[in-house]
């Protein structure tokens, strides 16, 4: 098993969308989480990697050899799709065994919808491990969304692939079963990673991507917006777009100028505030005089600090450790859950403030 190198890969569609000039290393034995807004090209990238789409240009290399000319089968890729897409005329067992039946060229079994005897034990064993052994004789239309997705997982895992692609497998699982399915999925991916395979996991669950991923790739408009350690990408987004993507509740943004740089902190002057903000650098290399954007996630706003006030409280409800606040910020009324940073009774809280330690620093101009 070796890592996969994506080199300057492009695939554009006539109606728009696709990916453009992506270069990326997908390390073996590591979980690469692919995140991005809908339509950013995540599924397109997976389909090109799997050999289901031919790229317009670029190369895909494994063990220093191009695999672009290989068909889907010869790339030895396995994939779990967004929806299970089990073949409705086959039983669950036959659906799970389908990849092996096709690879064995056992078309009689495929046509009859049966599982070859030599593969029966393998199917049973996998079904037991995914807790779907009681479903083997059922038809897909007799399964719930979660059960069907488990079967599609089994279908992907029945082959020993060199690359595993998981394309939002949780999207077709209903809310009640999602937590259990997610736990199972993570365990399965860990098993696959132990074999040293590269795994790409597309997800909309950013918290999950942050907690389980070894590498995070943020795609936006078909381009890689940022890659790196998930924690770093989340805490130090390089662009406002990435910062906004990781802050679904919203961001407050202020332009500033770097006044002083120390080993681990920078002092930033922002016109909106009376005094400069001292902010952790988080490995960002900035020079004095550089223009920056300071972004604050709404979930990090605090109620009633004396410094760095950005708005006034209109109404407020105590939620225990947080406060539900309607506040006037930058001439807009916003609803947010603010941090309680004082012991004052909540009736007396009147201001909303940012906390410098939570600031996201984004270079306002590209750093050369």
């Amino acid at each position: 098993m070796s890592s996969i190198d994506v080199i300057d890969l492009s695939k554009r569609f006539a109606g728009g969308g696709g990916i453009g000039h992506l270069s990326l290393n997908i390390p073996a034995g590591k979980l690469t989480c692919l995140v991005g807004p809908s339509g950013s090209g995540k599924t397109t990238l997976l389909r090109v990697l799997a050999g289901l789409l031919t790229p317009d240009e670029g190369d895909i290399r494994s063990a220093n050899c191009s695999i672009l000319h290989l068909g889907a089968k010869d790339r030895n890729v396995s994939m779990v799709f967004q929806s299970p897409r089990l073949l409705p005329h086959l039983s669950v067992a036959a659906n799970i065994a389908m990849p092996l039946t096709i690879r064995d060229r056992d078309f009689l079994a495929l046509a009859a919808g049966s599982v070859p005897r030599s593969r029966l034990e393998h199917v049973n064993e996998l079904a037991r491990s995914l807790r779907i052994d009681h479903l083997l004789n059922r038809k897909p239309n007799e399964l719930s969304g979660g059960e069907a997705q488990r079967v599609s997982l089994a279908r992907a895992l029945i082959v020993d692939a060199s690359l595993y692609l998981f394309d939002e497998p949780l999207s077709s699982v209903d809310e009640q079963q999602r937590a259990e399915f997610s736990e199972l999925l993570v365990a399965i991916m860990q098993d696959v990673l132990k074999k040293g395979c590269p795994v790409i996991y597309v997800t909309h669950d950013l918290d999950e991507a942050r907690s389980i991923g070894d590498l995070m790739v943020v795609l936006m408009d078909g381009l890689i917006a940022q890659t790196g350690n998930p924690r770093t990408v989340f805490e130090c987004p390089r662009t406002v777009e990435v910062a906004e993507f990781f802050s679904p509740s919203g961001l407050l943004r202020y332009f500033g100028t770097v006044e002083r740089v120390t080993t681990d902190r920078i002092l930033v002057r922002v016109d909106n505030f009376a005094s400069s903000l001292e902010i952790p650098t988080r490995n960002l290399s900035l020079n004095v005089g550089a223009s920056v954007i300071l972004a604050f996630r709404q979930v990090h706003l605090a109620a009633d600090q004396d410094r760095f006030v950005v708005g006034s409280v209109r109404s407020l409800h105590d939620l225990g450790d947080r406060l539900r606040v309607r506040a006037l910020i930058d001439d807009r009324v916003m609803s947010l859950k603010a941090i309680r940073s004082t012991n004052k009774p909540h009736e007396n809280l009147s201001r909303i403030a940012v906390q410098p330690d939570d600031a996201i620093v984004i270079p306002a101009l590209p750093q050369h």
Partner: protein
């Protein structure tokens, strides 16, 4: 089956639908106008346009009734239409749904199309073909074969449409991922999934064929479509009566559509 082939099939279906719309809509409108206009006021005996419709009459229906034993024909046609409609409504859709797992939209489309097949061919395709053929002295059996042949290709393309639309790309991608080629995908994935539609189309065409042609030959009773040539003579065609007969032949289907539509509305 490759995605290109599926796109081509979808395109063919759209072409077929446009063709059928044009070929069906115009004759339906003409048939309704001519059937309720005074005899020979719109078309002359040899088919030339002689005037614009003026007035309203049921005379054409009375003529058609007297000259073609239409009461008997309507009874036969209605009975057969009822059988077809009930079979489609009660069994056909259940079979298709269970085999294909089609979404509601696909099921509704297929049901509507099967009903349309029952209503539209007699009035829109068979009627003009039978009339035109009779002018050239062709026998009903020959005309029947021609009309069925003309129907089959666009019908198959059209009826397969919902199945193709409901066909997810991943159903082809998954076998491709593991090494099944285009031919294999067509044979082992597409065909089993489309089997229900194939069976239903074949059954619909066979029953229509029986209803409109073979039934009259085998049992010696005259259904409406084969009765049309009796309105054509060497002195000319009574177009008003022909169109009235066409409307009568379509009426059982229209009634059934309305009933099934009400039933479906109640269910949805």
């Amino acid at each position: 089956m490759s995605k290109g082939a599926i796109d081509l099939l979808r395109f063919a279906r759209r072409c077929a639908a446009s063709f059928l719309l044009v070929i069906f809509a115009a004759p339906v409108l003409i048939a309704v106008i001519v059937a309720f206009s005074p005899p020979q006021s719109v078309f002359g005996g040899s088919g030339q346009l002689v005037g614009v419709p003026r007035g309203f009459t049921l005379q054409n229906f009375a003529t058609a009734w007297e000259r073609t034993d239409a009461g008997h024909s309507v009874f036969v046609s209605f009975t057969l239409s009822a059988i077809i409609g009930l079979l489609v409504a009660m069994w056909g859709m259940a079979i298709i749904s269970s085999v294909l797992g089609l979404p509601t939209r696909g099921r509704s489309s297929i049901l509507s199309m099967l009903i349309a097949v029952r209503i539209l061919p007699p009035i829109c395709l068979c009627t003009p073909i039978f009339v035109a053929g009779a002018l050239f002295g062709l026998a009903p059996a020959t005309l029947f074969v021609i009309s069925m042949s003309v129907l089959l290709v666009p019908l198959f393309s059209w009826l397969l449409g919902p199945a193709v639309d409901a066909f997810a790309e991943e159903w082809l991608d998954i076998p491709r991922l593991f090494g099944l080629g285009s031919f294999g995908s067509t044979l082992f994935v597409f065909m089993p999934l489309a089997l229900g539609v194939f069976i239903m189309v074949t059954a619909a065409v066979a029953v229509t064929a029986w209803n409109e042609g073979f039934f009259s030959s085998a049992l010696g009773v005259q259904t409406i479509i084969p009765a049309i040539p009796s309105l054509v003579s060497h002195r000319g065609t009574d177009w008003g009566a022909v169109m009235a007969l066409g409307l009568i032949s379509a009426s059982p289907g229209i009634v059934l559509t309305a009933l099934i539509g009400l039933y479906r509305l109640g269910r949805d």
